[in-house]
């Protein structure tokens, strides 16, 4: 459950949009110690998930942070204004390329009437007072849009009230201009002039949101706030953190999951110039969760000496249950698993009987390799366990609170003793939601009695990841005389994320099949969905779009095969299968609910923009796929060709319906990036392992798509005023099956395995 919530596979029950309370916390003592409070005279906290009743006696009290926590107060947004009129916003989400540090000020500034250029972002440390900070599940905008709007709208109304009081006029005579309040007679008061008075105003219970036509930033092409830092090399990522007196560490971890150190010969490592010490780290127990993996660490004066020393260690390992594992054997086991019935997670009608009576039966088994996250910045963290028992951590983390809790647990200290500073993330993709590397740094700092930065090499990263699970999926459909399916059977086998958090997990459960299997949107009378056994031999984790990767692939690729078998146009067949416009409340018991009209909308849009149906040269083809995930709808139309067994992708048209669009530029960039991410999955080798150990080591064996292989990508954003959906992940799932459809059309050969290897 825990992992699934973090992964966005299921929605956490807390921190859903809804009940929000805004408080004037300008005079709270705890704020004085923060960067925001120190200079601001007007400060608002937005609290979600607690009622006004709980807060009733609070506003008149000035309490330290600890008491606030105990009372359950979780302000997740702060807005502050100093006397110079600068606006300060606390960003509680991690920046990893999605542009949240540009989107948050855009939203608040629009509601507030602030000038975006005068809004300054402060990055929140990991703490429960900021609400759920887990930056994954494509949740930042979709879950917090209203929080941030409410913060801005509250500030706006209080600034207006402050101006009215200053001028002794009614608020109705005042209006919000840009970064100043204007009186009907032309007088103005700037935010800085109003801040102190605004801090004494009553907090409006339900401030009005500004209408869309008054938005100046939301829904536009917003310039990246941190561009200059990125292009001048001045942005501080985790790996760039420097702390006075810091030492550097690298760790030799068991090549096989669960291997324990049998013996260590560290004489050669100790002889390496710059190596200070060798430290044994206890091996993790099962389930591994976010524990440090353990092993043997080298502590040195610089990263290079740490790497060299680590490579010079001679370590032998005890036998592990996973010694015999190989990716080939695992695939064979999953193939075996889906040949037989699994556990039925949903069934309607009589699939087997309908298949017997079908005109034509199509069967296929789909595979996807095990996949790594491979963020360009490998995992790393710096920790400093101080003499007073407190610990500071600097880390590129998507989950600062989880990091805080995991570090506190490993050190045996109260979480309040741990401060997690969130740096820029050099890519995340889900890897940096798992703070095992933060725990390593903390344990090593404790051992060394000094600040320690642990840096993973690329080999460490690719060999000790929380991998996206390899999968096998068996699909069977019976087609009627008209070519439409009368039956549908889907068996899915993969080691689920739950195996990382619980012992004894032997395959996916019903929840694991919710991302596009048992709640697929096609109108077919006889259906059955089965979860099939698969054993994890590595830590399994969520990777950008999670199970939607393999489910979106198999379901969409299979529909293209059915259309082909029926002699029908793939797009028309897909749209007909989705059927009438409806909200699928039966299969989506709580929001977000799949709306078939929106799904068909993106499919049509992608097809139209791609020129679906136009004549293509011999050897060329076009494929299409659509998938709903993370509250958004994405369709890809892919134009590809095959020559001498080599696939070339010429053009991708991506249509996305993510509801209300906040930052058009970042929506487009996420879809462009998802195309490259999806094509890497489709075309490049995944992770390989033999004798229990991952053999893939660096970017020579895990190859990323290159610029020359990247197709022209056109992103089409649907205009919508519905609630915002996610953007970071939903662009990944439809790409590979759309490419599979294109290859099927070009060659007549179905694509059933990723990476694609044509013979």
């Amino acid at each position: 459950m825990y992992g699934l919530e973090l992964a966005g596979v299921i929605e956490p029950r807390t921190n859903l949009p809804g009940q929000l309370t805004v408080l004037n916390v300008s005079r709270r003592r705890f704020l004085k110690t923060t960067a925001l409070g120190a200079g601001s005279v007007f400060v608002l906290g937005v609290f979600s998930g607690c009622s006004q009743d709980n807060l009733a006696d609070w506003p008149d009290r000035a309490e330290p942070i600890g008491s606030l926590e105990e009372a359950g107060f979780k302000p997740n947004v702060f807005v502050g204004i100093n006397e110079a009129g600068d606006v300060f916003l606390v960003c509680s989400r991690s920046e990893m390329g999605q542009g949240i540090r540009s989107s948050v000020p855009a939203i608040i500034a629009d509601e507030m009437g602030a000038d975006w250029d005068r809004c300054h972002i402060l990055q929140a440390t990991g703490h429960p007072r900021f609400g759920n900070q887990n930056t994954d599940g494509s949740r930042s905008i979709r879950n917090h849009f209203d929080d941030w709007r409410k913060a801005g709208a509250t500030a706006r109304e209080m600034l207006l009230a402050a101006a009215a009081q200053t001028w002794s006029v009614t608020p109705g005579d005042c209006s919000m201009a840009v970064h100043e309040v204007r009186h009907a007679d032309g007088r103005t008061l700037g935010f800085g002039e109003l801040a102190a008075t605004a801090a004494t105003m009553a907090v409006p219970a339900s401030p009005a949101f500004r209408p869309r036509n008054e938005w100046r930033y939301i829904g536009t092409e917003i310039q990246g706030r941190d561009n200059k830092a990125f292009v001048t090399g001045s942005a501080t990522y985790g790996v760039d953190v420097q702390v006075e007196g810091m030492l550097y560490a690298a760790i030799k971890r068991s090549p096989v999951l669960g291997g324990r150190v049998a013996s260590v010969d560290d004489s050669a490592a100790r002889a390496v110039s710059g190596v200070r010490d060798i430290v044994r780290l206890n091996e993790h127990t099962f389930p591994p969760a976010f524990q440090a993996l353990g092993g043997v660490a080298v502590i040195a004066d610089n990263t290079w000496a740490a790497f060299k020393g680590r490579d010079a260690l001679q370590v032998t390992w005890e036998a592990s249950d996973h010694d015999g594992w190989s990716t080939g054997a695992q695939r064979a086991a999953m193939d075996e698993s889906v040949r037989a019935p699994g556990t039925t997670v949903r069934e309607a009608g009589d699939t087997d009987a309908a298949t017997v009576g079908a005109t034509q039966v199509v069967e296929a088994t789909y595979h996807i390799a095990m996949l790594p996250h491979a963020p360009m910045e490998p995992p790393n963290a710096t920790a400093w366990v101080k003499a007073d028992g407190t610990c500071e951590v600097w880390a590129p983390t998507q989950a600062p609170q989880t990091a805080r809790g995991s570090v506190a647990g490993a050190l045996g200290v109260d979480p309040e003793a741990v401060t997690v500073h969130v740096t820029f993330l050099g890519g995340g993709f889900g890897r940096k939601s798992k703070p095992d590397y933060c725990v390593e740094a903390a344990l090593l700092s404790q051992a060394a009695g000094a600040p320690v930065k642990v840096t993973w090499s690329r080999e460490d990263d690719l060999r000790h990841d929380y991998y996206h699970p390899p999968s096998a999926q068996y699909m069977r459909a019976g087609l009627g005389a008209d070519g439409a399916p009368v039956s549908w059977l889907h068996r899915s086998s993969f080691p689920p994320i739950g195996s990382t958090f619980s012992n004894g997990v032997t395959g996916p459960g019903a929840r694991d099949l919710l991302s596009g299997v048992s709640n697929m949107p096609y109108v077919i009378s006889n259906v059955r969905f089965e979860a099939c056994r698969a054993i994890a031999h590595q830590r399994i984790g969520w990777l950008r779009s999670v199970y939607n990767i393999h489910h979106g692939f198999s379901v969409n690729a299979f529909v293209a095969e059915l259309a082909h078998a029926a002699g029908r146009d793939a797009k028309d067949y897909l749209l007909e299968l989705i059927g009438p416009d409806r909200e699928m409340t039966d299969l989506f018991p709580r929001p977000p609910v799949l709306d078939t009209a929106r799904l068909k909308g993106v499919i049509r849009r992608a097809a139209d923009e791609a020129g679906w149906g136009r004549e293509l040269p011999t050897g060329h083809g076009m494929g299409i796929a659509g998938h709903f995930s993370f509250s958004s709808y994405v369709a890809h139309a892919v134009h590809a060709s095959v020559e001498n067994g080599q696939v070339r992708v010429h053009r991708v048209d991506c249509a996305v319906d993510c509801g209300t669009a906040v930052n058009l530029d970042r929506i487009r960039s996420q879809m462009e990036g998802a195309t490259v991410f999806g094509l890497t999955i489709a075309l490049k080798d995944g992770i390989e392992a033999t004798d229990g150990a991952v053999t893939t080591g660096n970017f020579d064996t895990y190859r990323l798509l290159t610029m020359a292989e990247t197709p022209e990508t056109h992103v089409h954003i649907m205009d919508s005023d519905l609630p915002s959906g996610g953007v970071g992940e939903p662009g990944v799932p439809p790409l590979a099956p759309a490419l599979a459809g294109a290859i099927l059309q070009a060659t007549g050969q179905p694509v059933r395995s990723l990476p694609i290897r044509l013979t």
Binding site: N227, V231, Q242, N302, M376, M707
Partner: protein
């Protein structure tokens, strides 16, 4: 430990380091110039690219002993204030996502564009495909390079 002399971004440094320490770690861990990034350590990704005596070099595999006496330019020294035409174009096109690989991408482009100041899209593909970006910003990198060329990088 031997001492090596390097001129980095116009400033001369005497660096004490083991002969085999790659320039990358000299820059990052000894000189504190962290704009040059560690991505793979084996010259596969290009995140660590700098200019050594004017030529693009993967600093993660360049032992300091081999570059002693050289003039090194890193992303921090490409321009004084971030106004190199490539940096401006990168901003205009909103290229960066996470940003981590971008210093290497920019240093690479700044290197080969000295010989190919008016590249075609195919030239960009040919010269820039050695640099990896996991976020997938390739289309915009290409656009920014062509824009910078148009404006006279």
């Amino acid at each position: 430990m031997p001492t090596y002399t390097l001129t980095v971004n116009g400033q001369e440094h005497a660096v004490e380091a083991e002969p085999d320490m790659p320039l990358l770690w000299v820059l990052r861990d000894i000189l504190g110039l962290t704009g040059t990034k560690f991505g793979c350590g084996s010259a596969f990704c290009g995140a660590c690219e700098v200019h050594v005596d004017g030529a693009v070099q993967r600093s993660c595999v360049a032992p300091v002993s081999g570059v002693s006496g050289s003039v090194v330019t890193t992303i921090e020294g490409l321009s004084e204030d971030g106004t190199h035409p490539l940096q401006l174009a990168w901003n205009e096109v909103n290229v960066p996502q996470c940003g981590y690989c971008q210093s290497g991408q920019i240093m690479r482009a700044a290197g080969w564009m000295k010989d190919t100041p008016n590249p075609t899209a195919a030239d960009v593909d040919a010269n820039q495909s050695s640099n990896l970006c996991r976020c997938g910003t390739y289309q915009r990198i290409k656009e920014a390079i062509l824009l910078a060329a148009e404006k006279g990088a």
